[in-house]
């Protein structure tokens, strides 16, 4: 909630003099917010999202995901329209009749966009440019009851939604949080249906899954009720405890801290090892895809998050890793036929990608950050075009790619390939563990400190004796090698490589994952990959919400912009990155805790202001 108020460089939100009476509204703000929301509603409707997502029920026969999106906007607007006053720089929500009225009106205006759309849909047909201007949309928006009902019902839904949104402000924080958690959990559990159902069935509780989820997807009424109840109780009573537990762990020091950390790691590892055994191959496939992207994201995180190099052509290393593994392991690969075992080929993969990393890195590393981004993007595209070209098709098969790549043979015990997604997941897990270890160790080494320094001030880092070129190049190469692991596994998992798997799009998706999760934060990056790739899906890989596949790139784009504006440090930020982006607030906090020193002891009466 407060994140938007803290974006760097943004003009401070105007301080609103709190109006006395409910009717004494800030009409202009209301109209503006309402209009923007109405525009967003119409855009979402015309994007086809509601119609497509209508196939996905959240609660059987009551609510589908299609309505969740357009229905949630009035609530959000109704909530956001409420007054906010700053008390000593801290935003405080005001609550009163004003909120209810403003919320209701803003919600109604927002949903009125859909009312207008219903009217227009009835009278005009502009399906020619707008492909989603369809009778299905009209049916969906008017609940199959004719345009008049459609127009009126949306005004009503908007008003009620806005009223609820505004009303949330009047509730005590604890209740508000509980309600929001309940709603969010129901939607989340419904989205995670495949995973949850699979898991529950895995421990031989199929009847529970059947009772919980409807036959054609979505929570049953009782399932939704139970979910909401559990979430509500947990949120109402548990939140403080969770916070306290976290604070407790963070306050530990020395061996106790180490013990707590290793316990947590062991626990996570145990879950990650046990869960794939319980779930079916479809879910394992999903987990493996997520794992591949975690691996890529961890690699890019070293380049972008630690060394501060914006590499938009990261897919090049994924591609080089894939092709090297494919060429060296597949019997069908043209021209080169050594057919090494996968692990032997992996050595070549590392060497080749390292060299390619050096080759690409050397010319770009001295460039200004933004030029570097575009040039790496160019390199990424060049690499793909070379793999695609007839010129090199003798080696890489051109557009036909390389097919019939064997699986990964693990010491003669078992072969891991696409038909065995569980095995792939474990393989990916091992490499993810390696990548995590590498990131973690390097960040806390001489090299990691040099990366930090370069990221902060390259000129000074150079003057302090750091060979910035070498240090950055090393980050580039380490990231490249980690990405190539993912590529090598990918090639043998899918069993074929085509140039079309290595579009710049892949780079962008990985970048979104890293930024969404939190640049420089290992946990954040993993969480980002799990959420985005797992739920929405990768560039070509479906996620839990397969219905989303047409819209996921749109959402990625919107997410990237929104993250940069509202929360540039990411979902689970690294402490340092937060400091960089919110230095002033950090200093304020430190000042409140009495940690900012004033020039000490020397009878210095001057403060720090005005000097630096």
């Amino acid at each position: 909630m407060t994140a938007t108020e803290m974006r760097p460089g943004a003009a401070p939100e105007p301080e609103l003099a709190p109006p006395r009476r409910a009717l004494d509204q800030n009409w202009r703000r209301l109209a503006r917010m309402g209009a923007v929301a109405a525009f967003v509603e119409v855009f979402i409707a015309l994007s086809g999202m509601p119609v497509r997502l209508d196939e996905r029920p959240v609660i059987v026969s009551i609510l589908s995901l299609g309505y969740v999106f357009i229905g949630a906007i009035p609530i959000v607007v109704g909530n956001r329209i409420g007054r906010q006053v700053r008390r000593e720089g801290v935003p405080v929500h005001k609550a009163g009749g004003y909120e209810l009225l403003a919320g209701t009106l803003a919600g109604a205006v927002a949903a009125a966009g859909l009312s207008v759309l219903v009217a227009l849909l009835t009278h005009f047909d502009i399906r020619e440019p707008l492909v989603n201007w369809s009778p299905q949309l009209l049916d969906l928006l008017s609940f199959n009851r004719g345009p008049v009902f459609g127009v009126l019902i949306w005004l009503g839904i908007g008003a009620v939604g806005g009223f609820i949104g505004g009303g949330l402000r009047l509730l005590p924080a604890r209740w508000r949080r509980t309600l929001v958690t309940m709603a969010a959990t129901v939607v989340l559990i419904s989205i995670l249906e495949q995973l949850v159902a699979d898991l529950v069935s895995g421990v031989r509780l199929e009847p529970v899954a059947d009772w919980f989820y409807g036959r054609r997807g979505g929570l049953t009424h009782s399932g939704a009720g139970v979910t909401a109840a559990i979430a509500g109780v947990a949120a109402f009573f548990g939140r403080g405890r969770l916070k306290a537990a976290r604070a407790h762990v963070q306050s530990l020091e020395g061996p106790a801290r180490t013990r707590a950390t290793s316990l947590m790691i062991l626990l996570t590892a145990a879950i990650l090892i046990v869960v794939p055994l319980l779930v079916g191959s479809l879910t394992n496939e999903l987990l493996a895809n997520v794992g591949l992207f975690v691996l890529l994201a961890l690699g890019l995180n070293i380049v972008v998050g630690l060394a501060g190099i914006l590499d938009l052509g990261y897919v090049a290393f994924f591609a080089v890793g894939s092709y090297t593994a494919a060429v060296l392991t597949a019997a069908t690969s043209p021209r080169i036929n050594p057919e090494f075992p996968w692990f032997v080929a992996l050595i070549f993969v590392v060497v080749v990608t390292g060299l390619v990393g050096l080759f690409i890195g050397a010319p770009v590393i001295r460039m200004r950050g933004d030029y570097l981004a575009i040039v790496t993007l160019g390199f990424g595209e060049i690499i793909r075009l070379l793999f695609l070209s007839d010129w090199l098709s003798g080696w890489f098969g051109g557009a036909q790619g390389i097919t019939a790549i064997g699986g990964v043979e693990i010491f003669g015990l078992t072969t891991v390939d696409g038909t065995n997604p569980r095995g792939v997941f474990y393989l990916v897990l091992v490499f993810c563990a390696i990548a995590i270890y590498v990131s973690w160790r390097l960040e806390r080494s001489r090299l990691g400190r040099a990366w930090m320094a370069v990221r902060e001030d390259e000129t000074v880092a150079e003057a302090m004796g750091i060979n910035t070129v070498n240090v950055k190049l090393l980050a580039f190469v380490v990231g490249a090698v980690l990405g190539s692991f993912s590529g090598a596994i990918f090639a043998n998992k899918v069993g074929s490589v085509f140039p079309s798997s290595f579009l710049i799009l892949v780079s962008m998706v990985i970048l979104v994952v890293v930024i969404f999760g939190g640049m420089g934060s290992i946990v954040g990056v993993i969480a980002g990959a799990a959420l985005l790739i797992g739920v929405l899906g990768g560039p070509k890989q479906p996620g839990l919400l397969a219905e989303f596949s047409e819209f996921k790139l749109l959402i990625y784009g919107a997410l990237l912009v929104w993250m940069m504006l509202a929360r540039p440090e990411g979902l689970i930020p690294s402490a340092r990155r937060t400091r960089e982006l919110h230095q002033e607030e950090f200093l304020q906090d430190a000042w409140l805790r009495g940690e900012v020193d004033t020039d000490d002891g020397n009878g210095d009466a001057q403060g720090t202001e005005g000097r630096s």
Binding site: Y437, V438, R441, L442, R444, S445, R446, L447, G448, R449, A450, M452, A453, E456, D457, T459, V460, A461, E462, A463, M464, G465, I466, N467, T468, L474, V478, R576, R579, E580, Q583, F586, L587, A590, E595, V596, D597, T598, D599, D600, N602, G603, D604, Q606, T608, R611, S612
Partner: protein
């Protein structure tokens, strides 16, 4: 000072131009081992440009800079630092989001060897080196008393006060284990008490740590206090050099300061 006939730093006919503007013009100067030299001159005299040239941060137009008898020309800034020249900046430039300890640890980059593999394998050599870096960093920090050590070590540099930032910057330069320290207006913005203390510390830097020091300073009391020799620049050229007592009464210096002459006179009187 210790009798070697070859100067530590020797600048020969140094000229630096920025698009026709001569920032430094035909400058000759020397600095010996263990010497404290101050560079003074009115604003725009080319003092900071001189520092930037020595630390390879601006390209030089002609001339030569010799450090321990070998040329610094064509070296990168990091290579100059590795040779043993460290500097501070006029407008303090710390790594503000890194902790105070990290600031001095990262400065030892060019004195340490452990690379990625040592860190990944967590070798004994790596751990020993990390401990050494840490110890040396703390040593440099404790030169300034208790201000920068203790609970401060793991705080970001951004919480430091202005004076402590200046001190940390000097500590960071010390941590690169230089032979020659370039301090760009070390006491600028400090109050008289702080500046007197830092002035004493500059002397101790030479005596205890064995650095030769060149510093740019406008505060004449500091210049008088610690410098063995004063170099006066004006319009990028060497105006005069010598002992403070001689230089400060040189009419050309007074002339160069034009209107600022009172400062010089005040400094002499006080």
């Amino acid at each position: 000072m210790n009798g070697s006939s070859v100067p530590l730093l020797e600048i020969r006919d140094l000229s630096i131009e920025f698009g026709g503007l001569k920032a430094v013009n035909g400058l000759n100067m020397e600095v010996n081992d263990g010497e404290i030299v101050s560079v003074i001159g009115p604003n725009g005299a080319g003092k900071t440009t001189l520092f930037n040239a020595i630390s390879a941060m601006v390209p030089i137009t002609s001339g030569d800079i010799l450090f321990e008898s070998s040329s610094l020309l064509g070296l990168d800034a990091n290579q100059v630092t590795a040779r043993g020249i460290a500097r501070t900046f006029q407008n303090v430039r710390l790594f503000t989001n890194m902790t105070i300890l990290e600031n001095v640890m990262v400065a030892q980059h060019c004195r340490t060897r452990q690379g990625a593999f040592g860190a990944l394998l967590y070798t004994r050599a790596f751990r020993r080196e990390e401990d050494e870096i840490r110890a040396r960093g703390e040593e440099a920090l404790s030169f300034f008393g208790s201000r920068l050590v203790g609970f401060r070590l793991n705080q970001p540099a951004s919480v430091l006060s202005y004076a402590n930032r200046r001190r940390l910057e000097i500590a960071r330069a010390m941590a690169t284990q230089p032979k020659l320290l370039l301090l760009d207006e070390p006491v600028a913005g400090m109050n008289p008490v702080e500046s007197a203390e830092l002035t004493r510390l500059i002397g101790r830097l030479r005596d205890e740590w064995g650095f030769a020091i060149i510093f740019i300073e406008h505060d004449m009391s500091v210049v008088r206090e610690v410098s063995d020799r004063v170099i006066v620049l004006n319009h990028g050229e060497l105006l005069t050099e010598g002992l403070y007592a001689d230089v400060s009464v040189d009419p050309r210096v007074v002339e160069a300061y034009l209107g600022q002459e009172t400062i010089v006179e005040d400094a002499i009187k006080s």
